[in-house]
Subunit: 148 residues, 4 copies
């Protein structure tokens, strides 16, 4: 039974738009804040940059289904689940709730990646074992599926 | 043969993040800027707010596949296509290119919606015929599919 | 002796830029979040929009002095003080600290303003007495100065 | 007689807030876009990051006076002037106009700074002569004042 992780947030005024709602792009920023909170909980940095060496989790794909708008000053929670944990790819799922109502379902896939000071590009890397062990408790994937 | 619509943009510094790339959430803002440019081209307001009456196109779902990063000061184009034009829903597709390289594929579905001054909520509405006529030239959907 | 108000925040990844620091524009968003937190503490809405009637505090002027950068995941506090409380104008001061270090000093002046559904423009209004009473405890201004 | 530099921009929907106006923080992003446009005009990179070496212009102080709101889809221009050009500090002034109306006056001071791959911090550096020569034509400061 995977462990649940939940993140609470309040809507800032700058995150709304002239329609009076949270701008749709900000749901993706909220997802990333929830992901960052989970990484803090497992004591692993979501992003590091030291002496020109960068390590992080750029996104390969992202999506969101919007069910109910969020408004300024609304308090909402994001439930985070790790749907897939592969060699270097992680797929995260996010459920946005305001009280009992689901406001949105989000998902994105990240690639663990590193860049050395000597190289310009960012290259995918294997998720370190120490990180994999800490992440497994949040993983909702059935072991059988993981083999496919 | 649907008409092509293309939008050019340059990456601003505030749109980058500490990994040195455009933050993934900003691709969604770029899509909306391209959509707004197309609405200007057909002389229809993407959003209006007059005397408490709001009309616009909130998103029902949005997604993006990231292929290559964009960096500060990069010039890129977004090719816009209207994949579906339904009673009140529109599905837009966006192809991001920097020179010959595809950097991302995006898509979102909007709902034409209105809010009166007297009501608090936003309600879906039928796409006005005058707007539908102007949009059809960008629609890539086969007429047969549109009936399904 | 005015009451102190403090707000704690953590830097999100989307708030950084390619130089690896929090983008300077985001300090202004942080100030507004701190202001919103203070308004919640006094149980007064910083912004309302009901049936086309908007009430809020648009900015007349804003400034920030940057002393030390903030980085991704940094925890910082903002100390808020109300420097001036006039007929319809409020001047807020903000001190950003990360641990013992001051990272920035900010300030902005807002105008209490309302817009009716029937009118397009936003017009300054008198700060309501009930709000004034709740704000006074945070006001650092000397009564004598307030007469000037 | 210093050379004028002007930058044109259109308000994006994501830049507005629930009050229906451009969020005050975005005026600072617009200023930076205008600064970046000027740097392109003189063929000097506003920001570079190569092999861990970063060079750019972090802000030391920034301010804005707001005179008239900007709304979604408004076209405005920013007139840019270089008020001070010192050893490593530059002070830029920005005038926002929509048609004949001034919407805002902005200003910020930047510090030319570099960071090596080997060091963590960013250190002020002298403005290179080649850059200084290209910037002088935009400088509105009287030579006599520059000595003070």
């Amino acid at each position: 039974m995977p462990e649940a992780f939940s993140f609470e947030r309040r809507v800032g005024f700058a995150e709304t738009d002239a329609a009076g709602l949270v701008h749709f792009s900000n749901f993706f920023r909220y997802m990333e804040e929830a992901e960052a909170a989970l990484f803090r909980a497992i004591d692993w940095p979501l992003f590091t940059s030291e002496q020109g060496v960068i390590a992080g989790f750029p996104k390969r794909a992202a999506e969101c289904d919007y069910r109910r708008p969020l408004y300024f000053d609304d308090v909402f929670t994001i439930e985070v689940a790790l749907r897939k944990l592969r060699a270097s790819a992680l797929t995260w799922q996010f459920t946005f709730r305001r009280g009992p109502d689901v406001c949105a379902y989000g998902q994105y896939t990240t690639i663990y990646a590193r860049r050395d000071a000597a190289s310009e590009g960012i290259a995918p890397a294997l998720v370190p074992d120490a990180l994999r062990e800490r992440l497994e408790r949040y993983c909702t994937e059935e072991p059988a599926d993981a083999q496919k």
